[in-house]
């Protein structure tokens, strides 16, 4: 592989985004056939990645990157090894067929162009995720998949269920994403790593880090949410609200596997610890069984498939957690198998829905004759799903059992695997028999074979399952081996066989599984009824929990708002003054530096005292004034006294201004009071008075203490001395205050007069511009000039 190719990947990987932008335009140009054109993009990408298979198979790791945000040491960098390459191939390969399928499936849908956009966006995000090396760029793509899947799931937006499913997916995977972000950041901080390559190179540092536990929990949170592990699984089946191409894509290769991808990716660095090997199998196993039980319980084709997907994800997590060589190999094989059969099955289910108008399994039957190609595709997929030879699913299951057997022998894990796989077998059987081979049923639309765009994908994927198994040697060398090596973090030398080489434990387990599966298939209906009654008996599940949590969040929020935002201003004002009181008193108390009141005993002429005393008395008079009007008249006293105080302390300009402002304040107050027709009473009950008084005393006291504390410090008069020095010499003014106002600090004054101007204008607007006048033609700016001039005249 020449190095330029991998550099090119940096650019090519963004191609889906470009295609997404072109989607609606192409759709409007050539209609639903745009799917075929757009599919060229993933197809070419598939070819591009396929070219790298040999190099990767030889054990090299391809990397490239450019700086993205140097300030944060974030790069846009990619890393291709067996793991990422396989995912890239699955995404682009299955993606190609999905795009083609979308062209047929949504033919005539008004928003088909938009759909192309979404699916290509999603593809780009997913591709970016699996090839990213830099942790942050990985995360960006990770969240992008959540966003785009939100759009895809809610595509059928007029239905409430779709919207709910979209929100649920966003909340769960988005919430998981936040955990992942935290985990990544913690990881970056504690190990200094910024890329997957760094992380993988410093596995010991990661495991020994003090923050290993929180990092692990956070990363698992993200991965589990994305990969629908119990109890975060419910978004996935609900996401079946989306059009079928979406479900196929979401659930086969991509979004749901992003979590598994991450776990596999981090296995070399995170794995091989007790925590890892405990948590993952437990959650994986639980998910596996839960998924299967729920799959059996359901009757909607897509729901069944979705729950089996949940189960399969459980298997993958389970195996990744077991962590032995064979277990990991099994996981890899299972992943490939699942991608191929589940992608195909979803498309089949979509085709059935598309052509018959129903997905209810009890309402379908005898389709094999009418839809032979689809039946063939379904058959292959189900064989693989059931784990029967000669399909890749069979190999996967064999290796799985082998891995489990080697890891733990006869154990709970093994039992879980057998039980789950048996149910999987039964479901596969039912999926083939009921709709295709069962008794003919009337469907809303008369069933017939779909167009090539609809069956091409399932057939090819089915054939790949077959070919991959038949050419197991090559598959192992090119794909499985490198990937398993990448997951294990060391080169593995794998030798896999399609035909079992003897009656080893895996073969026996397989036989048990098949036997059990047949039994389940036979008693499928009673089994379903049993599950239904048990689950109904429990009556609760994470899905309902989602509603409850959301609901209670809103209720809680509403209650909190009522408390914190009661809408009564008095409370707001009270809190404000309370806050400042606490804020002022606490520092003084903390530092123990209460002022000493040294400056109190000062001698001044007696009339100073009279003026100060009158000011104080007038304040009290304002407080106890019986009516507001009396308070206003009394207010005049303190204004005058303040003006006189300014005069006594050598501030003629201030005194002057204060007198004028005082007079005008009274005038404006009187003018407004003339217009107000207030009731004379405005009662404050005694306890309120007491409370308000206490707060006022405390707050006023705090200000006083602060002021005294300040004036007890030495003062630095240099600025004022400067003003005195140059007021006349340079600024040509004898009144230093005025020189400050218009020259030294003229900008303050400029701002100040803007305030005055605005106040005037605002008052004008308040009085003149009333909402009543706002109706009718006045609200239109496109009036002719004459009209608006008339308005202006009115204002004069």
């Amino acid at each position: 592989m020449p190095p330029s190719a991998i550099d090119g990947t940096l650019i090519f990987a963004l191609a889906p985004f470009v295609a997404a932008a072109l989607g609606p335009w192409l759709k409007s140009l050539v209609g639903h056939r745009a799917g075929w054109i757009l599919a060229i993009v993933p197809a070419l990408l598939f070819v591009h990645f396929a070219q790298m298979v040999p190099a990767i198979a030889d054990g090299s790791v391809l990397r490239a990157g450019i700086d993205w945000i140097p300030s944060l040491s974030i790069r846009y960098s990619i890393r291709l090894d067996g793991l990422s390459l396989l995912f890239a191939l699955l995404i682009t390969g299955i993606g190609t067929f999905i795009v083609i399928y979308s062209g047929g499936y949504l033919k005539g849908h008004p928003n088909q162009g938009r759909f192309f956009s979404f699916i290509l966006l999603f593809m780009g995000a997913m591709l970016g995720l699996v090839i990213a090396d830099d942790l942050m760029s990985l995360f960006v793509f990770w969240e992008l998949t959540s966003i785009t899947s939100f759009l895809l799931i809610g595509f059928d937006h007029t239905r409430s269920a779709s919207r709910r499913a979209a929100l649920q997916a966003l909340v769960i995977t988005g919430g998981g994403g936040l955990a992942l972000l935290a985990g990544f950041l913690l990881l970056m901080i504690s190990t200094g790593a910024s890329s997957l390559s760094d992380v993988l190179a410093s596995g010991d540092a990661v495991r020994d880090s003090a923050a290993y536990l929180p990092i692990l929990i956070l990363v698992l949170g993200g991965a589990f949410a994305k990969s629908a592990q119990v109890p975060l699984h419910s978004w996935l089946p609900n996401a079946m609200e989306a059009p079928t191409p979406v479900s196929a894509y979401l659930h086969s290769a991509t979004m749901v596997k992003a979590g598994v991808y991450l776990l596999m990716r981090l296995n070399p660095a995170f794995g091989d610890t007790l925590l890892w090997e405990t948590i993952l199998p437990i959650f994986g196993g639980a998910t596996f069984l839960t998924g299967m039980v729920l799959a059996v319980r359901n009757t909607d084709l897509k729901q069944i498939l979705a729950y089996t997907t949940v189960a399969s994800l459980g298997v993958l997590v389970f195996l990744t957690g077991i962590g032995t060589e064979m277990a990991l190999t099994g996981a890899v094989l299972y992943l490939i198998a699942h991608a191929l059969f589940k992608g195909g099955l979803f498309m089949v289910a979509g085709t059935i829905d598309h052509e018959t108008g129903t997905r209810e399994i009890d309402g379908l039957g005898g389709l094999a004759g009418k839809m032979p190609i689809t039946f063939f595709a379904a058959l292959i997929a189900c064989l693989s799903m059931a784990g029967l030879p000669p399909l890749i699913g069979f190999v996967a299951k064999e290796v799985l059992y082998e891995g489990l057997w080697h890891a733990s022998g006869v154990s709970l894990a093994l039992a879980v695997a057998v039980l789950g796989n048996a149910m999987m077998f039964a479901v596969a059987v039912i999926l083939v028999f009921k709709p295709f081979l069962g008794a003919h049923q009337e469907t809303p639309k008369p069933a017939h074979e779909g167009p090539i765009s609809l069956w091409l994908g399932p057939i090819v994927l089915g054939l790949l399952s077959l070919v991959g198994a038949l050419g197991l040697e090559a598959t192992t060398h090119a794909i499985v081996g490198p990937m398993a090596s990448a997951v294990a973090g060391r080169p593995l030398d794998l030798h896999l066989h399609l035909i079992p080489t003897g009656l080893k434990p895996p073969v026996i387990l397989t036989l048990i599984t098949i036997a059990l599966g047949v039994v389940f298939a036979v008693v499928y209906r009673p089994l379903r009824r049993l599950f239904v009654s048990v689950l109904d008996g429990i009556g609760w599940g994470p899905d309902r929990g989602f509603d409850q949590i959301l609901r209670s969040l809103v209720f809680l929020a509403s209650g909190l708002s009522d408390i914190l935002q009661p809408g009564r201003m008095k409370g707001y004002v009270t809190i404000t003054f309370l806050a400042v009181t606490v804020g002022l008193l606490v520092p003084m108390w903390l530092f123990g530096e209460f002022p000493t009141f040294m400056g109190i005993n000062a001698d001044a002429p007696f009339y100073f005292w009279v003026v100060l005393g009158i000011a104080a008395a007038s304040l009290l008079a304002v407080l106890v004034a019986q009516t507001r009007l009396i308070a206003i008249v009394t207010l005049g006293i303190q204004g005058t006294m303040v003006a006189i105080i300014f005069m006594l302390y050598g501030a003629p300009d201030l005194s002057f201004t204060q007198f004028m402002v005082e007079i005008l304040s009274v005038v404006i107050l009187a003018l407004v009071m003339t217009r107000l027709n207030l009731s004379p009473t405005d009662h404050r009950p005694f306890p309120t008075r007491l409370r308000d008084g206490a707060l006022a005393l405390a707050c006023g006291g705090a200000f006083t203490l602060a002021l005294i504390a300040v004036i007890e410090q030495p003062f630095d008069p240099r600025v004022s001395e400067f003003y005195a020095e140059y007021a006349r010499a340079i600024a040509h003014g004898r009144n230093i205050v005025n020189v400050i106002i218009v020259d030294f600090r003229g900008l303050d004054t400029l701002g100040e007069i803007s305030v005055v101007m605005c106040a005037g204008l605002a008052i004008l607007a308040l009085i003149r511009l009333k909402s009543r006048e706002n109706r009718g033609p006045l609200a239109r700016p496109d009036l002719d000039q004459g009209e608006s001039l008339k308005e202006a005249a009115l204002d004069q």
Partner: protein
Amino acid sequence: MEGILALLVGLFFVSAIYMMLSRRTVRILIGVVLLGNAVNLLIFTSGRLTIAAPPVIPLGLQTVDDTVANPLPQALILTAIVISFSLFAFLLVLSYRAFQELGTDDVDEMRDAEPAERRLPPMEY
């Protein structure tokens, strides 16, 4: 001297805050006026007081010849007076208009922006 004025400033603050804790707009506005004066006196005191000559340079001199009152706080207060007067006038007319439109001068009864009966947001999806 400053200490005494500081106490008066404190009294101004107490009165202003007490008035502002009322629910009646007119009383709140009286509080606003008092608060403005309180702050002005605070800045005045904070810039240190002297029973001294006003900061005006006598006719024949290039600069002041003896201690004058600190001119900078005066200039700041001048700005502050103007601003607080403008804001007071605005708030006064605002409360008048609020009274006119809402029919009350009790701020706790003004519930148009935040209606008293709260409606939960829709619970559907």
